[in-house]
Symmetry: C2
Amino acid sequence: LPDDEARSEGTLGWLHSIARSHVEIAFRHPIKLIANALGSPPVDVIEQAHQAGVPVAALAGSAKHALRHADNGVDIVIAQGHEAGGHTGEIGSMVLWPEICDALAARGGGTAVLAAGGIGTGRQVAAALAVGASGVWMGSAFLTAAEYDLGVRTEEGPSVIQQALLAAGSSDTVRRRIYSGKPARLLKSRWTDAWDEADAPDPLPMPLQNVLVSEAHQRMSRSTDPTAVAMPVGQIVGRMNEIRPAAEIIAELVAGFEEATRRLDTIRGN
Amino acid sequence: LPDDEARSEGTLGWLHSIARSHVEIAFRHPIKLIANALGSPPVDVIEQAHQAGVPVAALAGSAKHALRHADNGVDIVIAQGHEAGGHTGEIGSMVLWPEICDALAARGGGTAVLAAGGIGTGRQVAAALAVGASGVWMGSAFLTAAEYDLGVRTEEGPSVIQQALLAAGSSDTVRRRIYSGKPARLLKSRWTDAWDEADAPDPLPMPLQNVLVSEAHQRMSRSTDPTAVAMPVGQIVGRMNEIRPAAEIIAELVAGFEEATRRLDTIRGN
């Protein structure tokens, strides 16, 4: 199964000593959370976090992986649907979110569920909470925050990468193995197009593909051409149409949630 | 774009006189709705429906297609996300639903939006209405209704096709061109596996693929082997785990919607 492939070897990244050195550095600071994108962190890292009073989160693209995270001691499962940016599975958010909520509720143990994949507005937060999530996890929506600082700055203000994101619609992403060897959703670009050519090679398995393309990624992060950036982003990119301070993004989430729940009350006749 | 391909030639089916003869027969009965799955119906069919006082619905996998439907005189756009069964696009429901709602609201004209793709419970109905849809459109969830009557009956009650659906999880669908030539979500089976083999031919373009496989589909609808059925179904199949009367499915939608909106009220602190 594709999402199995995307997740089951997730701890592989931890074989690199660099991942553990990141954890060591993190624990020297007053961190509030450790979150792992591919698979559960190793059990000893989870124990180390718990001893430091830091909860551990892990992303899941299926109920099976959510249950495995809980069995490994993960405190917060991030149920991430197909819409999401970066490494993501096949199951759409509307199906995945309640499925993971129900699977973890049936298991017991109080693992919290955050919904991810396709969230950029307060009414989408309301939708996530309506199907049973305790909260949401957003990544893409903050890439067009005014505070975001990756890519070459332009005179107009937004960086080249942000210009590419502002221009993209919800159909302008592709889910490909070319970023890391595992399926990840990326902004469609001349780079992703080139890998889609009939004569392009197949991506290498993780972790080799990332080794292969990391220099190219570095170069593209300095690109002055918005059609030649390498950027993981979710389908919510279609709604990322202006540069706003992060505080404004958060304020809209709260206001939009309020508005959506009031609309539901009206529909219910209260 | 894949969903462009899925939709833009949608009226092609109407070149067959059989489609128009279906409409003629339908209008001899007190029908309440005409719904078109691929593209808008031809404008003269829409006019004929309106003269008979029958509203016209059409499915859309992108805002662009939703706007085209509205321009063609369609009354109800069914915003169908990637999760859905049958012909479906790339954009997940959580992104697509609000995008189509907003695009049609900005256009004006009062086109209604029904949300489709991934809905099988009342809390998912609440999610759809939270992001702005006026209602929902469900197909897959009724395939395990007690009243559903396709496939060979077994002594235990459910037909062979229903047994296959009951056994499937949310990961047990694939989106392939093998059903019609356009991407459609199907129950994973030995049939879909065979088309995924390295030496399998590419599917033919619509309408030729359907002509090619229609006899095989007929045979598989009489199959006594649940692993060899040809069945379009959405990812919600993972939640279709018992045969229930349609009335029970509807009753749960109402009760689940109530429960979800009450939970949101509690979160909001009302």
